[in-house]
């Protein structure tokens, strides 16, 4: 199957050509090789999972994509162009939003304010213009507010709109973080263990939200997840990592039957 041709999935979603491609990425921290020569691609509109045991290098890979880590070797291609080394904020400005494994919210702000920061990149009016030309700034603020309220409704967090984030339970914080990422209207959404530490019910909600985001907004999603059931249900294709290397890549069925993957997950001794 060529990666340039669109196709329609069993549940009727259209998967487009490659939007992001990682080529031979190697990342070291001093002597530790977190990622060794890994290549894979992400296609437009798909849900791409990255799985692997603890310390496999999954978060490191997400950090490379989002510009938080600069790999020593390899290339990142985005929308058909090779990406020069970039700061995280520049990557974000290119339409790549993310959440963190350990949640990074603005704890001192309300839920609404947190989600509003997701729209900073869409606020055009400059500092001076805002001071002088109040009308335009207000119109922009109203428009941004409407978008944000839509997302807040979508993720069913209306009831905590004005609550300071610091007071929320873990599961809701994860949802607010997703809301903030979505507010940026990203073309790619990176989720680092969006369901970690949640109970079954919360996981089901989160799975539904992820599917709905992908379906309704057509957002491309790359996510890291440990829960195999969830991964198999959600994703179109899966990359499997172990000790910084890629040991599998394909549809959920393909990787499930891959002997290397089975070994890694059954904890077969590495030589």
């Amino acid at each position: 199957m060529s990666t340039q041709e669109s196709y329609v999935t069993a549940d009727g979603r259209t998967i487009g050509p490659t939007v992001m491609e990682m080529k031979n990425i190697t990342l070291r921290f001093g002597g530790v090789k977190a990622i060794t020569d890994i290549s894979f691609d992400i296609r437009e509109g798909e849900i791409r999972a990255i799985i692997g045991p603890n310390g496999a290098g999954k978060s490191s890979m997400l950090n490379v994509i989002s510009g938080f880590y600069i790999p020593q070797e390899g290339e990142v291609w985005y929308k058909g162009h090779k990406r020069p080394p970039m700061k995280p904020y520049e990557v974000a400005q290119q339409g790549i939003a993310r959440t963190f494994q350990n949640i990074a919210l603005f704890e001192g702000m309300t839920v609404l304010d947190n989600v509003m920061t997701g729209r900073l990149n869409h606020m055009k009016t400059g500092m001076l213009a805002q001071a002088i030309w109040k009308g335009k700034a207000e119109a922009e603020e109203v428009e941004n507010r409407e978008k944000v309220e839509k997302i807040i409704d979508f993720l069913e967090i209306q009831h905590i709109r004005k609550t300071p984030v610091a007071r929320l339970p873990y599961g809701l914080k994860k949802r607010v973080e997703l809301a903030r990422a979505l507010a940026a209207e990203p073309s790619i959404l990176l989720l680092d263990e969006p369901m970690a530490g949640m109970n079954v019910e919360e996981k089901e909600d989160m799975s539904r939200f992820i599917l709905d985001v992908n379906d309704e907004f057509g957002t491309t999603i790359a996510l890291i997840e440990h829960d195999m059931g969830v991964v198999m249900d959600l994703s179109d294709r899966v990359v499997v990592m172990d000790y910084g290397k890629k040991i599998g890549d394909g549809t959920p069925d393909e990787v499930r039957n891959n002997q290397d993957v089975i070994d890694a997950y059954l904890g077969v001794a590495h030589d």
Partner: protein, 328 residues
């Protein structure tokens, strides 16, 4: 009304006015501390530098004249023109923004992620460096700063209070203007941080660096912005203080008075800086008035520090800081 009470009220009002200045300097500290976790020891020197630059520009002084003359064997001191106050203030703002940019690019960006004590040491270095530069640039003699602010006793207050109580209050016009300007400045800062894109980004950076990066905020840009705003606050403080007691190197010592203010108000609270400043201002004047005569006076030198010490013991998070609970 008994004379003593009236006199006390007058002292109280004057303390309030003095407190405004402390609050302004403390505000500069809080801005930078909130956004970057840096305790900027150089805030006081920045006020001095700003005031000296303003005077230098207004008087048409040639910057680095001494150095230029020594190197090239010239005798230049003055351009031979004077610059109107408002234009000079605008130019000084530009200089302070330039300074903010240089601090960020040549010093602070190389220290990202270092221990707070390292950052603090860097600002001590910055303070002495800046003091030297100010000296080299504009000379070290005491200068008068006159941007046209009204000075002297406010006749209206004097007359009204005299008619009402039979005792005329002595309130300096400069203090009244300083209070109004400081209030306007604080309102402008609040509006800026609540309602502009950059203000929102500033609050985001103050809260969480990683999260701020992930929504597309450049930390470098915000830090230059924050140092610029702190530079502007320093300029305002420098103008007030300079108009009051002349532009001289002791100006940088007001930074030390800001320390007890911060201990009262908390290092991260803008309302705290304001209220803390006012309490210290009023407190030291009232204490001197009430207790001073019994202990031989000069209590203003130490009152603020002792008050801060009491706070450290009984309420270490300050008036407005969050309660510190050790997690175990």
């Amino acid at each position: 009304m008994p004379d003593q009470l009236l006199f006390g009220m007058e002292v109280f009002l004057n303390g309030l006015m003095a407190g405004v200045l402390y609050a302004l300097v403390a505000l500069g500290f809080v801005l930078i501390y909130k956004a970057s976790g840096i305790f900027n020891y150089a805030q006081g020197v920045m006020a001095l530098f700003a005031a000296m630059t303003l005077v230098g520009i207004m008087n048409g002084q040639v910057p680095f004249a001494h150095l230029i003359n020594a190197v090239f064997g010239l005798h230049v001191t003055n351009f031979g023109w004077t610059v109107p106050a408002l234009l000079a203030i605008a130019l000084t703002v530009v200089v302070m923004i330039g300074l903010a940019w240089m601090v960020q690019h040549f010093v602070m960006r190389h220290l990202v992620g270092q221990e707070p004590i390292i950052l603090f040491m860097a600002t001590i270095g910055l303070a002495y460096f800046l003091e030297g530069v100010a000296d080299l640039m504009w000379g070290s003699e005491i200068k008068t700063l006159d941007v046209g602010l009204p000075q002297g006793i406010n006749e209206t207050i004097d007359r009204v209070t005299f008619d009402a109580f039979g005792y005329g209050f002595f309130i300096d016009n400069l203090d009244i203007v300083a209070t109004v300007i400081a209030a306007l400045l604080v309102i402008a800062l609040v509006l800026f941080s609540q309602y502009t894109k950059q203000g929102r980004a500033m609050r985001a950076v103050a809260d969480d660096h990683q999260a701020a990066l992930s929504v597309g905020i450049s930390l470098d840009f915000i830090w230059v912005l924050v140092w610029s705003v702190a530079g502007f606050v320093a300029l305002v403080a420098g103008i007030m203080w300079g108009a009051k007691s002349g532009v001289q190197f002791s100006l940088s010592l007001i930074a030390l008075k800001a320390l007890p203010v911060l201990m009262l108000g908390g290092f991260t609270s803008i309302p705290g800086a304001i209220v803390g400043g006012l309490i210290i201002g009023v407190g030291e004047k009232m204490f001197e008035f009430l207790v001073g005569p019994m202990v031989g006076g000069a209590t203003e030198n130490w009152f603020a520090y002792v008050l801060a010490l009491l706070f450290l013991v009984f309420r270490p998070q300050g008036l407005f800081g969050e309660k510190i609970i050790e997690r175990v």
